[in-house]
Amino acid sequence: MSGFDLTGLTASFGGERVIGPLSLRVKQGEKVALVGKSGAGKSTLIRLIHERVNRESSLVPQDLGLVNALPVFHNVFMGQLDKHSTWYNTVTLVRPFSRDRDEVRKLLKELGMSEKLWIPTASLSGGQRQRVAIARALYRNAPVLLADEPISALDGPMAHQVMELLRERFATSIVALHDVEMALKYCNRIVGIQDGQVALDETSDRLTASDIMSLY
Amino acid sequence: MALNLIRKLMISSLFCFTAASASAETFVFTAIPDEDETKLVERFKGVADYLSSELDVEVRYIPVKSYAAAVSAFRNNQVQLAWFGGLSGVQARRLVPGSEAIAQGVEDQAFETYFIANTSTGIKPADELSSLEDELRGKTFTFGSKGSTSGRLMPEFYIRDVFGAQPEDFFSRVGFSGNHTRTLRLVEAGTYEVGALNFQVWEKELADGNIDTDAVQVIWTTPAYPDYQWTIRGDVNERFGDGFKQRVTEALLNLDDQKLLESFPRSDFIPASNDDYEPIRKTAEEIGILD
């Protein structure tokens, strides 16, 4: 499964509908950017999709969902807990195997933070924490990436490096972004969300930044 | 360094552990905690040594914290012999069929309870308890242990019998000091105005000069009743060999170490039987301590 066709997506909060009903069809190879004002429902939509695809996706939520007391290695390794037996995972918790260590270190190197492998995530900066969540998603290696503002805390060059990496590793992705330039550069389809509805759906080569700005 | 020490301790305690289980057939006895523990431990360590040499088995005394604990340990076969009071002996023998009273002190055939009062109450000694009714009413009063014969059963019996009232209705405050020495100290100090205790404890403390007779005095003595005795379980022969019960009985009756006897204090041990304690059983049933 790498493309999907979702219909009748709705979400309510406190009796008030915040999303939908809307339909979204994503084909394999599509890299969708969700854009729109904050509060338009992008995060909710990402959550909905995550549930709909039975969590068969690499998710980078806005609040990252890191286990703060664990070091970077374990937070990343968590992406593949389903690949190993319970005892293997338990041993890894106490003393990781060198194969996994090397693999995770390599991944972190690409994100420019391999020296932080054994630091508890609680003591990292915001940008570093965000990269740990991204590393976990990469390590998870699901066919689809769902990411909610994955580069909000990263500075210029690093933001580009991360987006490049995500584009390269995931054939299909849905990424909520508030940076329009980034969306146009790294995604091939732009979906604009306004008041819980799809207000814009175009391939990025037919759009300019100013077209999208009308949503804001 | 610390680890090394711990390892040594562990090994030595393991050794103790196995040593203890190797000699599983230790003859264990206990006694009701009716007096200060130091005295009891000293006295019964002596008895243990004596019995051990007479019986050729390892004999161990274990101190307990309450009369009921002594009875329970006897009932649960964790001890095979016990120095009980009248009431605790009756309780124990009811619970352990086949157990027997085998020896008592000469004095235990006719034991007494002293009612004592702090002199500040102005209560004068009397021959009849009934003549003290007005002076005693509304005073504070302490028994010894809840399970004691001389410190609870008999005094309560006479209070009910003579005054026709429950102790807690007759006195303004009723307490249980825990043991006879403690009763003596509490009344002497005036914490309670009146108390009841084992006459032997009083006499011994008096002889040793441990009583401030200006502060506390005996105001009434109960009629005599049977009290303390050695009680043994019925199944000791199966565990320690034929005739063991007989040998224990003889050893106790032959005990003539004066120092040891004085520590009880008893002049001699004489034979006893379960029937000797019938009056105690009846009294206990009468005041509802026994069902």
Binding site: R55, Q80, R136 | F17, E37, T191
Partner: protein
């Protein structure tokens, strides 16, 4: 002010306590209590560490029982906490923790006798119930988000180990360490019913007026507790836990027949045992209720309410002792020492000491409960005030206390107090063993008369009363929206 629900609730409780005072037996009956107290303090400052050869063994046994009991309790409690969301488990845990360690010990003494298992289980069982509750509360606080992000086929155990445990590990450890300290206190008082721990020797020395010996034991006990951070090290823990079972002493062998007898005969109500059937049960029960249970409940409730308010008052008086907002370092150091001693001394031992000195009434019990619990809460509140930053021109002295600090800490103060309500009641019941006419007095009497059927029913009543108070306490805390973490 009166419209504030916290103030109104406090006033209601004060009124209840004042009303209870009318019925309470409060008196100093000793003719010369201050001389005795003086002798006692003289004993404490002239301790005799070489009185009994058993002293060091007793100390070792106290530690051993605490380690084995708490370790067993925390393992069982942890397993229970995983299924704590099921109502039957919650009821079961509430029930086993509503029965005090000493009651458990008295029960086990009847069939295990003086076997180490008696002491171990007496600590482990109620602690399991407490651990289950607190562990599950701690686990519930953990952020659920990481768990939702795991790959769908992740094993339950792996998911638990990676996403739940790490973030609350420190809290679990802190709480378990705190419980170990409580375990030392529990272990010490088990000596009062005959187990070979510190209480055994303390009781002997005290009842014989050997205050220097008793003082030495108390001092050693404080040192033991105060130095815990030095000798309870994570790396040494496995050594302690594995080694402790070897230091429990041998006791006496268990006779298993006694266990069967206890459950099939001893605790069966005597009318049923004697074949009188249900017809005999009703008068038996009503006699027990009227003569023992009801007076016991009445006294227990009265004493609890007075002790609760006394604890509150003492807390409010004591917290400035360690607060940075008052006094100099000297005063605070002595304040710390006072509070550490107050909370390290088990209330049972405090009550025992005061009863010996002042004579029997509810007063020693109230003072003991207030000192111990007030010491604990005062310490927590005092520490909390140290995190408060006052404006530079804040008033000083009593105005600072009453205008700046008390209003800020009052809600957490009430939260702690209601949290300890149930604990105070559990202790109140047990103090009956010392001769105050609460439920424990009747339980002890029944046991002294070898009537375990009566004892068990009275213990059950005590447990139900505790569960009731616990529920009420939680209701009030929820109603007033009071939050506390279970560290006291």
């Amino acid at each position: 002010m009166l419209s504030s629900p916290t103030v109104r609730t406090s006033l209601i409780f004060v009124a209840v306590a004042l009303f209870s005072l009318l019925f309470a037996d409060i008196a100093i009956t000793a003719s010369n209590p201050w001389r005795d107290l003086g002798n006692f303090f003289l004993g404490v400052i002239t301790p005799n560490f070489f009185s009994s050869e058993g002293l060091m063994t007793a100390l070792l046994r106290t530690v051993a029982f605490a380690f084995v009991g708490v370790a067993l309790g925390s393992v069982c409690g942890f397993l229970l906490s995983l299924v704590y969301r099921f109502l039957p488990v919650r009821i079961f845990c509430a029930f086993i923790r509503a029965i005090h360690e000493l009651f458990w010990a008295l029960i086990f003494l009847q069939f295990f006798g003086f076997h180490p298992l008696t002491g171990v289980l007496a600590i482990a069982i109620p602690y399991s119930g407490i651990f289950a509750k607190v562990y599950s509360e701690i686990l519930d606080e953990v952020d659920p988000e990481p768990g939702r992000l795991l790959p769908p086929r992740t094993g339950v155990i792996a998911a638990f180990l990676y996403t739940r445990i790490p973030d609350c590990w420190v809290q679990l450890r802190t709480y378990t360490a705190y419980r170990l300290e409580c375990g030392l206190r529990s272990s010490a008082i088990l000596g009062f019913v005959g187990l070979p721990t510190l209480g055994f020797y303390l009781e002997s020395s005290f009842s014989q007026g050997l205050y220097s010996d008793a003082g030495a034991m108390l001092i050693l006990f404080y040192v033991l507790i105060a130095t815990m951070p030095l000798w309870v090290r994570p790396r040494l823990l496995p050594v302690y836990v594995l080694g402790a079972p070897f230091f429990l002493g041998e006791g006496l062998p268990i006779v298993w027949g006694n266990v069967e007898r206890f459950f099939t005969e001893d605790i069966v109500p005597s009318p049923l045992r004697d074949g009188e059937g249900l017809g005999g049960l009703v008068p038996w029960l009503s006699e027990l209720m009227v003569n023992e249970a009801l007076p016991g409940i009445w006294n227990t409730v009265i004493l609890t309410q007075i002790a609760l308010v006394a604890t509150g008052i003492l807390t409010l008086l004591a917290f400035p002792l360690i607060s940075n907002h008052f006094g100099g370092p000297v005063r605070r150091t002595s304040g710390h020492v006072f509070l550490v001693i107050a909370r390290s001394t088990p209330e049972y031992i405090l009550a025992y000491i005061l009863l010996q000195l002042w004579g029997p009434s509810m007063l020693p019990a109230v003072v003991a409960l207030a000192l111990h619990n007030g010491g604990i809460i005062g310490h927590l509140i005092g520490r909390q005030t140290n995190t408060i930053r006052l404006r530079p021109d804040a008033p000083t002295g009593f105005n600072r206390y009453s205008w700046e600090l008390v209003p800020r800490v009052y809600r957490s103060f009430l939260a702690f107090l209601f949290y300890r309500w149930e604990i105070i009641m559990r202790e109140t019941a047990i103090l009956g063993i010392l001769g105050i006419y609460t439920l424990g007095f009747y339980v002890d009497s029944a046991i002294q008369n070898i009537r375990f059927d009566r004892a068990m029913i009275l213990i059950l009543i005590t447990a139900l009363l505790n569960i009731g108070i616990d529920t009420l306490g939680r209701y009030i805390r929820r109603k007033l929206a009071l939050q506390t973490m279970p560290t006291c």
